[in-house]
């Protein structure tokens, strides 16, 4: 479904991704793990069109999207949950969800999708008219996921969902991600919390200083000595 081919990305003079290739099959849940600063967020941003690669290709459903501007990618079926949540703090919960459905013209459909998100996260329904900035980190993370679901995406890109959350919220978020995947949404997770990320994944990649150093099924990775030492705490 998503194919990243030999991707190079630089910020100014500094190259941060040195020829990355990652592929995600239809209905798969793939996790990319790696330490802070490895280039995980850059990789996701490049897929979303927020960072321009210096070379390489991004194929989505076989179509080359490398040079399509970010705002035209929204309607293609990729939902994005950014690092640090980045909900629109000055908009209400409901307005945030409306922004997630910006590409939709049909008001009834938008209302239906908002109800669907409230069904997944009842908390958001209770806070519909509240400004997003006044909510807790966990609630904001739910909103960020909800916003990404507003266009009924085929695929979700999820960047550091566990960052800055209480352990109980981290578990809730991973459960929701797993459930969405079971319902047929393809998911690519980028995560420092390797333990959780590999537990729910079908396959995994390890990204270190801009290179993919390992890729395998999630099960094998959990058993792998070096992965255990470096990322799973022994």
């Amino acid at each position: 479904m998503l194919e990243i081919k030999d991707l190079y990305v630089s910020y100014g003079m500094m190259e941060v991704l040195h020829g990355i290739s990652v592929d995600v099959q239809d209905k798969e849940l793939v996790s990319i793990i790696g330490p802070n600063g490895a280039g995980k967020t850059t990789l996701i941003k490049t897929v979303m069109g927020l960072v321009k690669p210096t070379s390489g290709q991004i194929l989505y459903n076989g179509e080359d999207i490398t040079n399509i501007p970010a705002y035209k990618r929204a309607g293609m079926g990729i939902g994005y949950v950014p690092e640090g949540r980045r909900v629109f703090g000055k908009l209400t919960v409901e307005e945030n969800l409306q922004m997630g459905a910006y590409e939709l013209k049909d008001k009834a459909q938008i209302a239906k999708n908002i109800e669907m998100v409230y069904g997944i996260f009842p908390r958001l329904g209770e806070r519909a008219k509240q400004l997003a900035s006044t909510m807790s980190g966990g609630e904001q993370q739910m909103l960020a996921i909800g916003r990404a679901l507003m266009l009924n995406p085929q695929m979700l890109l999820i960047d550091e969902v566990s960052m800055g959350l209480m352990p109980i919220m981290v578990n809730t978020c991973f459960e929701v991600i797993k459930k969405l995947n079971d319902e047929g949404i393809t998911v690519l997770v980028v995560e420092q919390n390797a333990n959780k990320a590999l537990k729910i994944a079908d396959r995994g990649y390890v990204l270190e200083t801009g290179n993919i150093v390992l890729s395998d099924t999630a099960e094998n990775m959990r058993k792998d000595d070096t992965v255990q030492k470096a990322y799973l705490g022994g």
């Binding site: 069109g49 970010a70 705002y71 990618r73 929204a74 309607g75 994005y80 307005e95 922004m99 910006y102």
Partner: protein
């Protein structure tokens, strides 16, 4: 006397709010202080003058001048600010310097084309004054107040009740994520410019009507007073700007009418600003932490 001062303060406050609104909308979405807005105000006033004396219509003077200056705003955004901001790691001083340059250029262009003298701005309203009981109302005040109210209501409606406005607010909040949601953010920026420069043009004409004359130096005082107003309002907050404009207008009118403080009228805005910043540094309606 008091009612007279009140109407005068409302008219001046309205003009201030409208003048600063352009800079507010632009700061809100691009994060730059566009001093050149005061140039839009100047050019708007002159265009309004020429259109009025060519057609005899106050309505046409407002509409055509606002549209022309709004289009000028879009051109300035597309060809000057966007290329500057597109460069990686642009220091925020660079667009500011460009804005100062644009403003200076607009003042000098007006001076070269229209002459360095003042033009008399005698718009004919049909009546010179309206008397209600003991209160005498100047038609210009009513026009200014009513027109500002209409323009600000239109702005409020666009920002809060339309999809375009939602996209604008989202873009002002987080441009990158708005883009990912499918907003063509350069259109949201263009909206800021067409409204912002159009409003500034209307404010320019209003000031011409209010003081009966315009000169090429018309934009100088607003170019810095505008800053006091948008900072007072909480940088980039449209409602705060309206409040701040009215507060400054009222303070100026009432302080000079009822007290004999020795500071010049145009300095009052800054005294208010300094007091405000000491008490509430984030401005009237600013948020402490940007989310």
């Amino acid at each position: 006397m008091f009612t007279q001062q009140l109407m005068n303060a409302l008219a001046i406050g309205s003009v201030y709010a409208l003048t600063a609104m352009g800079a507010t909308l632009i700061y809100g979405i691009l994060g730059i202080l566009d001093i050149a807005n005061a140039g839009a105000y100047l050019i708007g006033a002159y265009l309004g003058w020429y259109i009025y004396y060519a057609t005899g219509s106050i309505v046409l003077a407002f509409v055509l001048s606002m549209v022309a200056v709004g289009v000028l705003g879009i051109l300035i955004q597309k060809f000057i600010y966007s290329p500057i901001l597109a460069k990686p790691n642009t220091l925020s001083i660079i667009p500011l310097v460009a804005a100062v340059g644009l403003f200076t250029m607009s003042s000098d262009l007006v001076r070269l084309i229209c002459g360095p003298y003042s033009l008399s701005y005698n718009f004919d309203f049909g009546v010179t004054s309206i008397r209600i009981g003991s209160v005498v109302l100047v038609p210009a005040w009513i026009l200014i107040f009513a027109l500002t109210a209409v323009l600000l209501l239109i702005l409020w409606f666009i920002l809060n009740k339309t999809k375009l406005g939602l996209a604008w607010r989202a873009t002002a909040n987080d441009t990158e994520i708005a883009k990912v949601c499918g907003v063509n953010t350069s259109n949201a920026m263009a909206l800021s410019y067409i409204l912002g420069y159009g409003f500034a043009a209307a404010a320019g004409i209003m000031v011409g009507i209010l003081y009966n004359s315009i000169t090429p130096a018309l934009g100088e005082v607003p170019s810095y007073k505008m800053l006091a107003i948008i900072v007072l309002g909480g940088l980039g907050n449209p409602l705060g700007t309206v409040l701040a404009g009215l507060i400054i207008g009222f303070t100026e009118v009432f302080l000079s009418a009822y007290t004999s403080i020795p500071i010049p009228k145009d300095a009052i805005a800054f005294v208010v600003l300094i007091i405000m910043l000491l008490v509430k540094p984030e401005g009237l309606l600013g948020q402490k932490n940007k989310v």
